[in-house]
Symmetry: D2
Amino acid sequence: MRKIVISTGGGDAPGLNAVIYAVVKSASMRGWEVYGSRSGYRGLLDYDDLVRLTPKEVEGITPIGGTILGSTNKENPFAMPITNLAGEVKVVDVSNRVLENFKRMGFYCHIAVGGDGSLEIAHRFAQKGMPVIGVPKTIDNDLKATDRTFGFDTAVATATEALDKLHSTAKSHDRVMVVEVMGRESGWIALYSGISGGADVILIPEVPFDIDKVCEKITDNELHDKHYSIVVVAEGAKAKDGTVVVKEKGELGRQEVVLGGIGERVARQIREKLGKDTRSLVLGHLQRGGSPTTFDRLLALRFGAAAVRMAEAGTFDHMVAWTPPCMSAVPLAEAVSSRKMVDLESDKVMTAREIGICLGD
Amino acid sequence: MRKIVISTGGGDAPGLNAVIYAVVKSASMRGWEVYGSRSGYRGLLDYDDLVRLTPKEVEGITPIGGTILGSTNKENPFAMPITNLAGEVKVVDVSNRVLENFKRMGFYCHIAVGGDGSLEIAHRFAQKGMPVIGVPKTIDNDLKATDRTFGFDTAVATATEALDKLHSTAKSHDRVMVVEVMGRESGWIALYSGISGGADVILIPEVPFDIDKVCEKITDNELHDKHYSIVVVAEGAKAKDGTVVVKEKGELGRQEVVLGGIGERVARQIREKLGKDTRSLVLGHLQRGGSPTTFDRLLALRFGAAAVRMAEAGTFDHMVAWTPPCMSAVPLAEAVSSRKMVDLESDKVMTAREIGICLGD
Amino acid sequence: MRKIVISTGGGDAPGLNAVIYAVVKSASMRGWEVYGSRSGYRGLLDYDDLVRLTPKEVEGITPIGGTILGSTNKENPFAMPITNLAGEVKVVDVSNRVLENFKRMGFYCHIAVGGDGSLEIAHRFAQKGMPVIGVPKTIDNDLKATDRTFGFDTAVATATEALDKLHSTAKSHDRVMVVEVMGRESGWIALYSGISGGADVILIPEVPFDIDKVCEKITDNELHDKHYSIVVVAEGAKAKDGTVVVKEKGELGRQEVVLGGIGERVARQIREKLGKDTRSLVLGHLQRGGSPTTFDRLLALRFGAAAVRMAEAGTFDHMVAWTPPCMSAVPLAEAVSSRKMVDLESDKVMTAREIGICLGD
Amino acid sequence: MRKIVISTGGGDAPGLNAVIYAVVKSASMRGWEVYGSRSGYRGLLDYDDLVRLTPKEVEGITPIGGTILGSTNKENPFAMPITNLAGEVKVVDVSNRVLENFKRMGFYCHIAVGGDGSLEIAHRFAQKGMPVIGVPKTIDNDLKATDRTFGFDTAVATATEALDKLHSTAKSHDRVMVVEVMGRESGWIALYSGISGGADVILIPEVPFDIDKVCEKITDNELHDKHYSIVVVAEGAKAKDGTVVVKEKGELGRQEVVLGGIGERVARQIREKLGKDTRSLVLGHLQRGGSPTTFDRLLALRFGAAAVRMAEAGTFDHMVAWTPPCMSAVPLAEAVSSRKMVDLESDKVMTAREIGICLGD
């Protein structure tokens, strides 16, 4: 009887539990046993963090946000920060230990669910001889190898719902509302939620913006007797004139976002230039939370079932991908290499412009 | 300056207003004028039912369910039932009057949003010389020419949410809950909502079912210490042994559904065979209502914008279709000719089976 | 150290888990141990159905519908149907066994969460010497002793949301939608959801209706250019002229509802009298499901905490009740004796009439 | 025939449209005419801002957030800032003009919906001879004269939903999430949403907090194997040791909140003291938006209907108030004089403590 191990790594995304559910159920269907490794690779470093996952255990987890296995975006077995008794932090390569444990426990393969960081680590393990199958997870939908990733539709739904709520307040008070959504490298969430949520302006990393164009749109609204405006700004949007908002990950956490997130900056500029009552809001972690939409549940379940099919076929060092109309296997090496940006010639962007949305250019 | 007219026909679907919004906005962007014909073709029979649609008029309608133009599935200008003063009903062909009015008002083209019935009528008008562009609408997602239709994702979301709600009650009371969802000819809504909503059994028209297999699954659940089951049944599901549930549209309306809908019948059989506490529920019109999901809003807006692009290009007698990754134009004659059934070899159906869902076969 | 046992009985209601959560947390705070009896009194008949509930166990259950302990409305220890090996069913009084087990395990008291049936049983146990505290549960809000019961606000929210969804479809198609909601004896859910959900007609048990008045209202809407109507009917509504819809609980389950529920009957009469396109829908179990609203969560948590306070004070054979602005203790004997009907002189009913809602009289 | 005018003032709150709906419907029922004054008193200064409100006009507005009349918290007819052609701002008393217009148009009375600022202005008009009836609106629920105000339940629901979403992310990543909710003077929203949403810590203005107690609670969670915590902070919460966060309304708008909102400050302190991964989020305007809950719809509709009843009875210079179980009339002079703080002896606060929530003291 085969035994497989599953892990979830990186920032959480709605649908992770659905992937786990499908893996457990469809592996059990084949008579296999499934184990979960807690917080990324911890279960392969310490038995205490390895849990047996039976169908009973995963019953009802599909609609639940987060991941029952826990996740982390700080631990890489190839460069693990370890604190010794003296309190000093040393970076150690524990990948061999992971591999040995994997073999000692007799695992047939490892299903690694994660973003580009996690998938890269998975690929390195594959090169070291671990049979690995990747399942892509990025709430930003910016992975080139797959048409869609789970979590994205839910994030867009949450952002759209927030825009729906802000409309009434903006309209009642003749206000400009600036909403900052996720998207450091690409503007997918901003574009989708902005179009669906009736935004007047959408600013995305792919289109450097001119604040005067933004103000023109707001003024044009006034002329047409619409005295409020909704501006959606992706985290990574930047001004044409080079005003780049620097954001570093790491120690400071959200601090610098708060001290001058792009949303707040845009709001301030609009306020100064137009004298309109302008407010800003950062949606932040709300976009990662909550029960996955049906779209994301279905996609995640299909990913999980397809991963087990790939395991059965022995298609290792590959990632499952959605390439409509079917699922396919993409080599991990390729999968993590390139990002998917918003195509400015696509009918989505054309639609945005044609229904009167200003993209800041 | 061009003037165009838009109509919505057939049963309502979430997203109709989004189509109208996109048509009005993107036509206005080109300097065109848009008029709405109320309740299908009524605005082309009677001026009182023709309304001017400006961007101001359609502001904020995208998230609203239904259609601001009203809809009907009873009126066909080629065979219109007309009641005379004596109370007699006569079927009359008023299509020439519609065409004359269309020309008299100087319309450049007609954007007809509707299901297969409405699109067929649109095609007949196209053959008579009216420049027509179709926008597909079927909540059942069963149109072959387009990968997806708007309204479907919302219907699935509503059904999934209902399943989520029923889980807790079923579990608390060790009950079998049978839920009947829409789908006369195809099982799309049942399949998608059933997988997403954690159903144990999904019965669809494409797979004639054996009630004993259904009962086996429920009993198997018991063995695995799961004392409740959720059964999703499409309206058009039928038993293998020929027990066909006949449902005619028309006068009787929902009456016969209530007197013995397939959901209630399945529930009764389970109750008799297993002696389990079993309840049934018909979701009915709830599935057509409510605010469209972001997926449906986006798709509907893109359909609307694409229809105006087709109008500009003069691609008449065609329907806009989503053929990922782009929008395309399909001849109306082709578009309405064939339905899309659930592909039993698809990875969705495979996923369903692999995660342990019984399809009744 | 004190040990207490908690049980949930009767039909499920959103908020049951919140009560359990609060009992476990606030008892643990006092250093007590809490045990849960599965499916009503089963844990006091069979050790296997008794579970230890620690704060860890109940973490995160507040927002979850149903009850983690399971519930039943078929088992009464004073008259328990028991099937012998020959398949014969005999009704046996096992209350002494329950009491003995209760004492043998050294329980300090029993917190019984349930409807009038369960509370009556609890009172009988109190008379036999078991220290019992009741927590009222009725989704119908028809218990006189307490101003509100948990679950009701959620049921009303679900019904209102359904009405919101049906509006767009009714309006788009010039239709009459008849919606049957829970309420056998009283019209609370119908009244609250009908007012909030913009119903035109609300029929409740407290006001025997005249179908001609209902039709008059619908016709009056037409005159005022509102071509659709929403009719909300409580399960127990009845016509003035004596047309009573008989519904017996028991073997037949929902069957007779389906064969002629009051909603379907009203719809049929409207269709016949006015010739309007009329549809009906039974919300049924959807109203019991789902995550409790914040109102219900808060009320249920307060009930749970108050029950433990009563346990500490030794106020047994009483039920916790909300008597604004504070919680109080009501003798169980009194608590179950009288129902709360809709007060026809209350400002809620006045409001309904004044904003133009027809109550059928 | 009587003519009345209605206005909405101050920040918007879910339910404003429900009040307008009920006023229009129940006044029309009496044969009266209703007019709406846009953006507070503007309709009484300029005819263009006065709109006729018929039942047709208000159809379907109950579920819609915001106010169809618009609102402002910047204009006070007794001290109106007016900009002359030279660009100078002068503060002018235009109250006599408002009163004259009111009389010239033959209005019978004015129904003023608003917060304490708006109600005070209403009272001054009453003293000048305008028959005025107030309807209380404060999303913070901090008006002593009425048990509840509409909008509050919706704000709490929005905050609770956000907490539900953050749970999964906090849990998956072993994180502390700090959420700042509305409440400058009182902690109602924080308390209600915190209890319902499973917060570990709730900081409110009524209880000056000790950050060490907060950290103790988080550490205690760790000991009990709960590696994440949710902290809810009211805008106006302040530390025991005098670290008061000063926030002035006015020119700076949200700016200083962003530069050091109490939520961000608390998060920073936790991060520094415990070294835990800690994030903060400001819910801000999301809490004012969206469709009112059924609770708020019902309350707002009852307020509107009661206001018209008071108008009929001639009870002017009074405000409608909910004093369970009935509506009553409170003199405006009294109504605006005192705020309602969270009662620290109430069973709600006791419940919070008993289920293990830390209030920071």
